[in-house]
Amino acid sequence: MHEWTINAALTFMALSLCGGIIRVVRGPTRADRMLSAQLFGSSGVALLLLLAQSMKMPALVDAALVLTLLTAVASCTFARVVWGYDKTGSKAAHVVDR
């Protein structure tokens, strides 16, 4: 496969990641920021897969697998502990913050 195809794809993905940076800095609520981390996770997986093809290192597919598995861990922690319920089960205090 032509080198430039994969390289163009990589550059494109990197640009797409920059969009995530904009959202994380701007996003009004905490969920928006966490969503950007999720975006980085998914795009990161695609990026790693493309890199595995481009650099001819099949081990990177393992890295992509690990990233897929563990991105969910951070998101779940956010949803349950940071934004979740306090001891009495009522809603958490923070809604929108700066």
């Binding site: 390289n7 163009a8 290192m57 563990l70 700066r98």
Partner: protein, 319 residues
């Protein structure tokens, strides 16, 4: 025409610096943590571009996943929102800090340039003696065989850190009451699906660690992730260090490593592996370390997020 890989590398470096800057200067702790997680993912990509897949695997597992979870769990329990308006340090110290950090940066650049140009370091030495180590992955050979002392003490230090976290948690007493998470049925299903996958992936990484990037630390981080989502689902599992069986799991890695090293003193020196059996010995040690690290990370998360059950609750085994 500009080479496309270097455009990608340039974007990557720029994003790394940008993310680090934002993470350090953000006025909100949560924003800083999220930026740190994103930074971790990009750093893993950078490691891959530098042809270091083992470190990239570890960075992905620990930096992007578990450290993020640890920070978020702690934040959720302490909820300190920094509201300083950027007063910063008093005047003189700003200058001193800038000078010191710039100096460090320049030294690092010089060292890196020299490494890139002269090919220094011990890579060739390791490659020459790789068959003696019994594994084909040079990183695993260095970690477990050539520099086994370091790893032995690292695992010991991890367990000590866990004890410290638990001691602090208990010392804080009533102010850190356990957070009782309600059982979320969707998350329980997710745990049912993911835990076997995580355990299998961890086992795969340990097995594959001797000829491909992998190894005990990555596998341990994945097992830690499994422990974290089990805790988050509200499954009543206790990860306190008081329980004897759990303490055994935590110490297992260090103990196995130490015992192996000592038993080898019969024929040689401490931790000097006999070339015939080194592969299996290393596998046993790696397995024990992975289990230990997994338990330690899960329990650390439980302590940070105050998810330890109060005493008197029924304890279960983390499985």
């Amino acid at each position: 025409m500009i080479e496309l890989p270097s455009v990608f590398d340039g974007l990557l470096s720029l994003s790394l610096v940008l993310l680090a800057w934002f993470a350090l200067h953000s006025k909100d702790l949560f924003l800083g943590i999220v930026l740190f997680v994103m930074f971790g993912i990009l750093v893993a990509v950078a490691w891959l571009r530098l042809h270091a897949p083992d470190i990239a695997l570890t960075e992905v597992a620990l930096g992007a996943g578990l450290t993020g979870a640890l920070f978020l769990g702690t934040l959720g329990r302490t909820e300190v929102v920094r509201r300083d308006r950027g007063q910063g340090l008093p005047g003189g110290r700003h200058l001193l800090t800038t000078v010191l950090v710039s100096g460090l940066g320049i030294v690092l650049c010089v060292i890196t340039a020299r490494l890139a140009a002269g090919g220094g370091g011990m890579g060739d030495l390791v490659r020459v003696r790789l068959e003696e180590s019994g594994v084909e992955n040079p990183v695993t050979a260095v970690i477990l065989n050539f520099r086994g002392y370091d790893t032995l003490f690292e695992i010991g230090v991890l367990f000590l850190a866990l004890l410290g976290a638990h001691a602090l948690h208990q010392a804080a007493g009533a102010s850190t009451e356990s957070l009782r998470l309600p059982r979320d049925s969707m998350l329980v299903i997710f745990v049912h699906i993911m835990t076997p996958v995580l355990i299998l992936t961890a086992a795969y990484l340990v097995w594959v660690g001797d000829h491909r990037p992998g190894g005990a630390f990555q596998a341990g981080a994945i097992l830690g992730g499994a422990g974290v989502i089990i805790l988050l689902a509200g499954v009543p599992v206790s990860l306190r260090v008081d329980h004897f069986r759990l303490r055994l799991v935590g110490v297992l890695g260090f103990a196995v490593f130490l015992v192996t090293g000592t038993c080898l003193m019969v024929n040689g020196r401490f931790l000097e592996y006999p070339v015939a059996h080194v592969k299996w010995l290393l596998l046993v040690v790696e397995l024990a370390c992975a289990l230990s690290i997994g338990f330690i990370l899960s329990s650390l998360f439980a302590a940070c997020a105050s998810l330890l059950h109060p005493s008197g609750e029924r304890g279960g085994r983390r499985d």
